[in-house]
Symmetry: C2
Subunit: 138 residues, 2 copies
């Protein structure tokens, strides 16, 4: 049944997370400072809501103001998050420190893990969790 040319397993498929937040405009600013994110696309609604596509290096993610009526809930509204972001970077210590300086909160400091990664975890001011790390060269 699977059609290699048109199915999801086509090489051109991409998956990008879309983070629901309260105050999308502030969130764009935060990710610019914390991760040196760049804005690829931004739509400002009449209600002040923002939809934005951000890039960090060659990685991409989206954010949008929450809209519970459309099943889009911020971590603040639900009291937790259902997806965390795994961010692989050249220098986890530097990026982790930059994010904390920008207003993120340390959840787990950057340490070498027995499964072969150097990684730490933060929660950002909007309630989203990020694991920032890289595989340790063997």
């Amino acid at each position: 049944m699977s059609d290699k040319s048109t199915g999801a397993d086509n090489p051109g498929t991409s998956i990008s997370p879309m983070l629901s937040v309260r105050n999308g405009a502030k969130a764009v600013e935060f990710y610019q400072t914390a991760f040196a994110a760049r804005v690829l696309f931004r739509l400002d609604g009449d209600d002040g809501g923002v939809v934005a596509q951000l890039t960090v290096g060659s990685a991409e993610f989206w954010l949008a103001d929450e809209s519970p009526e459309h099943h889009n809930f911020s971590p603040e509204t639900l009291g937790g998050s259902t997806v965390r972001m795994v961010m692989v970077v050249e220098d986890p210590d530097t990026v982790f420190a930059q994010a904390v300086a920008a207003g993120a909160t340390e959840v787990v400091p950057v340490t070498n893990q027995p499964y072969g990664w150097r990684v730490g975890r933060i929660v950002d001011p909007f309630g989203h969790h990020w694991e920032i790390g890289k595989p340790i060269a063997g």
Copy 2:
């Protein structure tokens, strides 16, 4: 302060979502059927919990059994999701239909949107939402 060679804006940075679910083993099976996902890495814990890294075409995501004590909540536990996945594919209609056939529920059918995308939305059996679409050639 930003160091282009070691900061998050390094071209080698990647961001992959890690989905918290109830019953990770079943979730791996679902994504294999729905999206023709392939398992790149899988760790089965003594408690039956699973951590898995999946690829769909050239895209990557992770899933893991929820662990509220570590701030990882499934959509079933919180009653909603805080991040949705934007999946760009060659043929949204085919992939959408495959996912629904595998057990996902239609939230918004695949239609042409005024912002230039052909896109639909599903919620999978674990409560995660996926927008499946592509830009319409102009």
